[in-house]
């Protein structure tokens, strides 16, 4: 008896997720093991005795064949045990529960800024092609593409925090607001709102707005250029000319016809931008002392803390997979042909 369609689709999706994650983990695991860094030294330090070194070497299972090590790791992951971080001797799952919400909060606000400003800018630039608005949009995007984020972040801090004092400094919240509201989601803005503590909310907002704007600006640069390109293609189509000939207002032509037809493409662009931000922007996190997943994975990788790297990889892999699934669902909402 054939399986119902919905069940077949669900099973296929789950199988695809499992295979993707397994492949991702295997590649990361192998890279981690062939890196010229000794993970034992990351734990015991460079001056530990040979006996201490040997004990930790065995404890990590490094004396076993690579495939056996990987097998043990996968078995642990299935039981949601990502092991212990070599760099802080804490469970990786505990670390991920701490750093991922920080990145999620920052990336979500960043992509929100990128969409709210980038999409209209791209549409206007396409509609007013060659005008001063188009030129400004081009320059904005060009600066966004070419300016090193490290430099822009420091300049932002210098001007808006150091000189003008409009925003909070590095860190997620002021020192005196740390741990004031109970952690429910791990995202301080939401936790403060849930707690009704608007002082903490205000302080946290003053800290997040600058790094989020920075990330939003980089997303904006990409989203606005892609939006412009998609819109130009639509605006030159015959159905647009027909709509105009029929006397439809320019607003309706642009937003009800042309823009409606670029939504599916835009979803892909936005999903990719969001996924990139959710991977964690390492430099932004460093400049703003933002304890996110990007700097967590990078630090772990440079010290051969493979439990942390692999745990982070699972999270990032899941983000990409879930955003893909979400994009597919949105395609079906916006494009009847995809249903």
């Amino acid at each position: 008896m054939p399986l119902p369609n919905w069940l077949r689709t669900t099973l296929l999706t789950l199988g695809s997720i499992a295979v993707t994650l397994l492949g991702l983990l295997f590649v990361t695991f192998v890279i981690g093991r062939v890196m010229p860094i000794d993970p034992v030294l990351a734990i015991v330090g460079e001056r530990a005795s040979q006996s201490t070194y040997d004990a930790v070497f065995q404890e990590l299972g490094l004396d076993k064949p690579l495939i056996v090590q990987f097998g043990y790791y996968i078995w642990d992951v299935i039981r949601l045990d990502f092991g212990t971080s070599l760099l802080n001797a804490r469970p990786v799952s505990e670390d991920l529960a701490r750093v991922f919400p920080a990145t999620l909060e920052l990336a979500t606000l960043g992509i929100f800024i990128g969409i709210v400003l980038g999409v209209p800018l791209g549409v206007v630039a396409a509609v007013r092609k060659g005008s001063w608005i188009d030129q400004v949009a081009r320059v904005v995007a060009l600066v966004g593409y070419s300016m090193p984020i490290f430099w822009l972040g420091l300049m932002g801090l210098l001007i808006f925090y150091g000189i003008l004092g409009w925003v909070g400094g590095p860190g997620r919240v002021g020192i005196f607001y740390v741990d004031v509201v109970p952690s429910v989601t791990g995202m301080i803005l939401i936790d403060a709102a849930l707690d009704g503590n608007w002082d903490v909310f205000k302080n946290a907002f003053s800290h997040i707005i600058l790094p989020a704007s920075l990330l939003g600006y980089y997303s904006l640069a990409y989203i606005s250029r892609m939006t412009r390109s998609f819109m130009l293609e639509q605006l030159s189509a015959e159905y647009i000319t027909t709509a105009r000939v029929k006397g439809m207002s320019e607003w309706d032509v642009v937003w009800k016809h042309a823009f409606k037809n670029i939504r599916v493409q835009l979803i892909t662009v936005i999903a990719l931008s969001y996924a990139n931000l959710l991977e964690g922007s390492v430099l932004t996190e460093i400049i703003f002392s933002w304890p996110g997943i990007g700097s967590y994975i990078t630090t772990a990788l440079l010290s051969a803390d493979m439990n942390a790297v692999l745990g982070g990889t699972v999270v990032v892999g899941l983000i990409f997979i879930m955003l893909n699934i979400f994009s597919d669902l949105l395609y079906k909402v916006f494009d009847p042909r995809a249903r």
């Binding site: 000794d38 030294l41 925003v167 740390v178 440079l302």
Partner: protein, 530 residues
């Protein structure tokens, strides 16, 4: 339209201003420090082995004797009020201080001393070797350290100078923990290790409130501290890996101390109102070494020439400005037994002559491993340039600290640019590293500069290093270490070039911050704000 735009713009600016944080100074009883704390692996004194965890342990735990905040160069009574060494020089008897309380409120007992050291030896984490030097093992520790009443008797195996034994017992892993509390939190036989990575159980002037790796470390004053509660009710160490933003925080008044500024950032603060820079000599020495497994580097003439191919003053005056000073011996300046002579200077002609006289075949092409961070890469480039003057071509191989150490430990490097800080403040800590090698075989790993560069010192030097360790006469002992430093200057395959200096920027109203020669001597308990 113009009016609408103006109104919108005004509203935006007003909204932003409304969100602005107040830039008031930090409270008078709270010290806020901006620091890179991502080096911390663990905060249990039985395993803490990093710079920042050393600072943490120094402020939350005590040892029987210690280099105290009042004077970080003098070994003073701490949890022990007095001690005596027996005539055979095999036992030290300590008398514990009365009335000392742990953070939990539990009183200090002799059993805590025995338990703390037993725990370090049994857990066998990275710093345990410091205590096991005394001949302690998991099997004999209960016989080597005993207690009765408020007396603790420490026995050791080996010929050690009493000062060496006391220095070992003043080191970080010798910190005394509240065994009752620790063992109450034991899980799966870990002797409370996991719990100790999230909590403090010491007698120190501060206790741990919050620690989140690479995010924040908050300490609270221990009201019952035996030397009196600190003025600061809290110390908040905020993780910030970037010096430029630390500087902005300091100028804005959001932090009181910024610890990780580079020379340019320090220079930028010299005229800043309300901020001052303090400099503290550090114990770490920086050197370049030559692996004796590489044929081209085995000729002593190459080592001798290398001593004249370092632009000591040039580097110290430019790219290392304020961060290092010229120092050419293995024991750092500022400590008894340090050799402060600087007999070598940059003289490429002399180096060429040494190489020519010895008939060394040139050019010599070798790799130079270096940690890819400031100022090491800059130093490597300077060495590359100056060594090339005499026909020694250094190819710089930059890597992460973990990569460089992995190669160094495996003895697969050629030349190495690195640094060394003593594990405890006794000259033997560095003499063992630079002037002693018991066995140069590949399978006899030792974490010393000698073994790692596959160099076997002459028999006399090895013997002298061990003799100094056991010398009972303090003055004669220091003299032996001076000799060892002179000998390594003359005949070792490494060139010690600099001693580190720490520059710390702080608000003008901060008084009493103590930053000794190592991270174990960074103290907050005397800090006051005017």
């Amino acid at each position: 339209m113009f009016t609408l735009r103006s109104t919108l713009a005004s509203a935006c600016i007003a909204a932003t201003l409304a969100m602005s944080p107040s830039l008031a100074e930090t409270p008078s009883d709270v010290l806020v420090v901006a620091q890179n704390i991502d080096d911390i692996v663990t905060i249990d004194p039985a395993s803490a082995y990093e710079f920042t965890s050393g600072e943490y342990v120094a402020n939350t735990y005590d040892t029987l004797v210690r280099y105290d905040a009042m004077d970080t160069t003098v070994l003073a009574p701490a949890l022990a009020t007095e001690w005596s060494v027996d005539a055979a020089n095999k036992t030290v008897a300590f008398t514990l201080r009365d009335g000392v309380k742990f953070h939990s409120g539990n009183p200090l007992r002799g059993a805590d001393v025995v338990g703390s050291w037993t725990r370090v030896v049994a857990l066998d984490k990275a710093p345990s070797f410091i205590l096991t030097q005394l001949g302690w093992t998991a099997d004999n520790i209960d016989e080597m350290v005993t207690t009765e009443g408020n007396a603790v008797t420490v026995r050791y195996e080996g010929d050690f100078a009493p000062s060496f034994v006391l220095n070992v017992l003043a080191a970080r892993p010798a910190s005394i923990v509240d065994m009752e509390t620790v063992m109450a939190n034991e899980v799966d036989g870990d002797m409370g290790h996991a719990w100790m990575n999230k909590n403090s159980a010491g007698t120190g002037p501060f206790k741990l409130v919050t620690y989140r790796p690479a995010e924040i470390l908050t300490l609270e004053a221990h009201a019952d501290y035996y030397q009196g509660a600190p003025s600061m009710s809290r110390v908040v160490v905020q993780h910030n890996p970037e010096g430029a933003s630390q500087r902005l925080q300091l100028v804005a008044g959001d932090v009181d101390i910024a610890k990780n500024l580079d020379p340019n950032q320090v220079a930028g603060l010299t005229d800043e109102e309300g901020v001052r820079i303090e400099t503290y000599p550090q114990a770490a020495v920086h050197w370049i070494s030559f692996n004796q497994k590489v044929d081209a580097l085995t000729d002593p003439a190459v080592w001798a020439a290398a001593r004249y191919l370092v632009d000591y003053e040039g580097m110290a005056g430019s790219l290392l400005d304020g961060q290092m000073k010229v120092h050419q011996a293995f024991w750092p300046d500022g400590f008894p037994g340090a050799l402060t002579d600087t007999p070598f200077s940059y003289d490429p002609e002399k180096a060429k002559q040494i190489l020519a006289d010895a008939g060394v075949q040139l050019p010599i092409n070798v790799t130079l491993d270096v940690i890819s961070a400031t100022p090491f890469v800059d130093m490597a480039q300077s060495l590359q340039s100056s060594f090339a003057q005499a026909g020694i071509n250094l190819e710089i191989v930059a890597g992460t600290g973990a990569q460089v150490i992995t190669k160094y430990r495996a003895r697969t490097h050629e030349a190495m640019l690195l640094y060394w800080g003593p594990d405890f403040m006794d000259p033997h800590s560095n003499a063992k590293a630079f002037a002693f090698n018991a066995d140069n075989s590949d399978d006899k790993y030792a974490s010393t500069t000698t073994w790692r560069n596959a160099w076997m010192p002459p028999e006399e030097m090895n013997a002298k290093a061990m003799a100094a360790l056991g010398e009972q006469d303090p003055d004669k002992r220091l003299g032996m270490y001076l000799d060892l430093q002179r000998e390594t200057q003359a005949e070792a395959p490494f060139v010690i070039m600099f001693q580190a200096i720490k520059q710390v920027a702080m608000r003008d109203n901060i008084k009493g911050f103590v930053n000794g020669a190592t991270s174990d001597y960074v103290f907050y308990r005397l800090v006051e704000k005017n």
